[in-house]
Symmetry: C2
């Protein structure tokens, strides 16, 4: 269904969550790493991570005291390639009417 798809996209449609996803392209990170990276309250980051996990974008694994998050799919690069093309595509903000 299109709702699950939209949920996946929504899970990446936030500056902090996008930053998290990009950082995880280089390998797993635990919540406190991501908290430092994002610069928000740990509880806020944790909620972002839960959202992303529930959407199917992230997986997690607990080892010791830490919980390590990873990307659920290695296709994020191609996803971002398209996003960047759109984001940098000229000043298309022109209206036509």
């Amino acid at each position: 269904m299109s709702n699950k798809r939209a949920g996946v996209i929504k899970a990446l449609a936030h500056p902090s969550r996008l930053l998290i996803a990009e950082s995880l392209m280089n390998g797993e990170l635990c919540v406190c790493d991501l908290k430092d990276l994002v610069g928000a309250d740990m509880s806020t980051v944790s909620k972002h991570l839960t959202l992303m996990r529930e959407a199917g974008v992230l997986n997690c694994e607990k080892r010791g005291l830490n919980i390590y998050y990873t990307l659920a799919c290695d296709c994020l690069g191609e996803f971002l390639r398209c996003v960047d093309k759109l984001a940098t595509g000229g000043t298309k903000t022109k209206r036509c009417c």
Copy 2:
């Protein structure tokens, strides 16, 4: 900046907007076509379209009484390929703690 990127993603992170984007992969459509497709008030659809255009995802062109919208980039297929992989990727909703 990461905010522009997130804006692009956000422009696709809604079931109606995703449907609009997918429909436009087959070529331009005017607002009333899209209104029928989405099944919402025309003003609602118009606002979705404005949002998508301002994010850089769509372009528009007025001809006669109609305004035709098109995708700003043909990369949407590869974008969706990744989204679908994530959206259908097993029951990864498992938690780890």
